[in-house]
């Protein structure tokens, strides 16, 4: 078999194939439910209800989507430049760490503290990714492995701090930091509803990233570098500088996920503020085909699956890990479907 590019895929192909990918994912979900001895339809219904069945559920989904928008954007920006940032998890924790440090150690009033916390977080995340990227551009060290390994190193580093200098003396022995003062937290968007301004910030970032990607010379440079490094270099695009700028943006966005989780939701730093948001960001970004506005939609979808599966597993005997399997299969089906909208498989 060979692959031939298609000039004009047509609606049936460009809409039908992704739809088929979703349908196949639903089939996998049903099989998984059967495997757990549950009724597939009921399981799917419970997931849906848990994700969007009530105002509370919906808000929970949006809350969960917030860090995923940030990490999804971080991945989308980086992958556009073919910069394989698999280290959003480490950048997230770096951001969370600086958020807590600035928020608890400097004793600043809230209106001053919050922007400063965000800036410090962005800086920390950007620097976390800068190392691997400099190793890549200067020495040619593959960034996939270095960013992955940094995730482990960062978690151990945070763990060390939480059991050492940052440990909350009133924490009853738990490894957690002191809580942020009340006024150094992100306020809720609407009083009484459990949705904080981190979500608003995420939407703004998505819009900003979209503008960068489609309207600026930097976005053009990033896309050119990612699609054809050799061609971009020949055209006079400073590809190494573009990589570094991309890394700073990407690392900063991932760090904002940490900022938003700590300042908006948790109030302090623990070792479990992220159940793998950094890795899930890859799925979010790929499902959105690296489009920043699409990231918002796919983050809400992915968050819905997680929240829905959590709530479903409390009611039915189906483990919550069904969500992770579904998303991984959705990712694989989707990349295949997207490829098949652009190429056709021919025999001989």
């Amino acid at each position: 078999m060979r692959l031939e590019p298609i000039a004009n895929p047509g609606l049936a192909r460009s809409a039908g194939l992704p739809a088929a990918a979703i349908a196949l994912t639903v089939v996998v979900a049903s099989l998984l439910a059967l495997l757990a001895g549950a009724d597939p339809l009921a399981t799917l219904g419970l997931i849906l209800k848990g994700a969007a069945g009530s105002k509370f559920a919906l808000l929970e989904t949006l809350n969960r989507a917030t860090p995923l928008i940030f990490t999804g954007l971080a991945v989308a920006v980086a992958f556009r430049a073919k910069l394989w940032n698999i280290g959003a998890e480490a950048q997230l924790y770096a951001g969370a760490l600086l958020t807590v440090l600035v928020g608890t150690q400097l004793g600043l009033p809230g209106p001053v503290a919050l922007p400063l916390m965000a800036l410090a977080a962005i800086l920390a995340g950007a620097l976390t990714l800068l190392g691997p990227v400099l190793l890549k551009t200067r020495l040619g060290v593959d960034e996939v492995v270095t960013t992955l390994l940094l995730n482990f190193i960062m978690l151990l580093f945070i763990s060390m701090l939480l059991e050492g200098p940052l440990k909350d003396p009133l924490g009853m022995g738990w490894p957690k930091s002191e809580a942020l003062p009340r006024d150094a937290r992100l306020p809720r968007i609407v009083d009484g509803l459990r949705l904080h301004w981190g979500f608003g910030l995420a939407l703004i970032c998505a819009l900003g990233t979209w503008v960068i990607q489609t309207r600026t010379t930097l976005g053009y440079e990033i896309r050119a570098t990612g699609l054809n490094l050799q061609g971009a270099r020949f055209a006079g695009i400073p590809v190494n500088a573009v990589m570094v700028k991309t890394a700073l943006i990407s690392g900063g966005l991932a760090a904002l996920a940490g900022f938003s989780e700590v300042a908006g939701l948790k109030g302090n730093l623990t070792l479990d503020i992220s159940p793998g948001f950094g890795y899930t960001g890859i799925i979010v970004a790929m499902l959105a085909m690296l489009n920043p506005l699409g990231v918002v939609v796919s983050a809400i979808f992915v968050a819905g699956i997680f929240v829905g599966a959590d709530s479903m597993s409390r009611a039915a005997e189906v483990p919550t890990y069904i969500a992770d399997i579904l998303l991984a299969t959705a990712l694989l089906f989707m990349v295949l479907a997207i490829m098949l909208t652009r190429f056709r498989v021919v025999r001989g």
Binding site: L3, V141, T146, L149, I153, P319, A328, L332, V335
Partner: protein, 314 residues
């Protein structure tokens, strides 16, 4: 206990070889994939799946070696998915590999929860026991280190030897290396690039899964979450460190395991009282990054690594 004592103790050297064993399996698996031109980032998840599959098979009553076979088959199945998506369809090896890692990890956890819904402490199986090599084991230091291992460790060394032999001394190895260097050379000689690459990914993934199974069936005796803990990523670094040659990669794995074993023992010394334990735990990851940096200048990367081959474009 200070450094000299540690380095002279038999248990240290036994630990080095034990720690290296799963890495050798998985590193050989990754090396086979990459020599054929496919980066397999599914390694971490495939190791998790292998660790679970081998363990659960034995837990369900199968003999130990059957458990190894089950783990291998599960790994090969994930490898087949990876191979089909990345080779004939030419999808991004990065994205598919990470997707396979997420899928295999989640599948293992899901299956574990279904198989054992209520348990809080992971149940144990009777793992592989150290072989009794008679008088060989009684040789001081060397005896216990070399001859006090389980059968799986010897299998790991055998696999490394076989990988080297096949790569350099058989027609199959020739075709495999050519597929990773210039696939059109393979095609022009009437061989199938697709077949060779998918085959390499399937076999390589099987080995990764056995590496995972070593953890639950030889090193520990139960399955718990996060137990692979980045070992797969470390193996990818080891392939680079070994310059894509099996012998050097095994040396790299032993060297790495040496530092790991040392780190564990140093935690118990006076040093461990002063330095937080997390610093010791960081050592393997930092070493892996260092290894990559050191080798970056003289890497002999297979020329067609990560380049999909489409017959239509030539």
């Amino acid at each position: 206990m200070d450094l000299i004592d540690i380095l002279l103790s038999a248990s240290f050297w036994a630990a080095v070889i034990r720690i290296a064993s799963p890495l050798i399996f998985a590193t050989m698996g990754e090396l086979i994939c990459e020599r054929a031109g496919v980066l397999n980032l599914g390694i971490e998840g495939i190791m998790v799946a292998g660790a679970f599959a081998g363990w659960v098979a034995v837990y369900a009553g199968l003999p130990l070696w059957w458990g190894v076979a089950v783990a291998m088959l599960v790994g090969m199945a994930f490898g087949l998915v990876h191979g089909v998506l990345t080779v004939p369809f030419g999808l991004s090896q990065h994205v598919v590999g990470l997707g396979i890692t997420m899928l295999a990890t989640a599948a293992a956890y899901y299956a574990y929860r279904i198989a054992l819904p209520e348990v809080t402490t992971p149940p144990r199986i009777e793992p592989f026991q150290p072989l009794d090599m008679g008088w060989l084991t009684d040789i001081p230091v060397v005896g216990q280190a070399l001859f006090g291992q389980t059968a799986l460790t010897y299998l790991a060394l055998l696999v490394a030897l076989a990988t080297g032999l096949v790569l350099y001394r058989t027609p199959l190895g020739l075709a495999l290396r050519a597929a990773g260097e210039n696939p059109s050379a393979v095609e022009a000689q009437g061989l199938s690039v697709t077949g060779i690459r998918i085959g390499a990914v399937v076999v390589g993934s099987g080995l990764m899964a056995v590496g995972g199974a070593f953890l639950t069936m030889s090193a520990f005796s139960s399955f718990f979450f996060e137990m692979v803990n980045g070992r797969g990523w470390i193996c990818i670094a080891l392939v680079v460190f070994g310059a894509w040659a099996p012998g050097k990669a095994v040396l790299g794995a032993l060297l790495f395991a040496g530092f790991d074993a040392l780190q564990i023992r140093l935690q118990q010394t006076g040093l461990g009282a002063v330095v937080p334990y997390q610093v010791f735990l960081m050592v393997p990851y930092i070493l892996s990054i260092l290894a990559l940096v050191l080798m970056s200048r003289r890497a002999e990367v297979p020329a067609a690594l990560m380049t999909p081959y489409n017959r239509g474009e030539r």
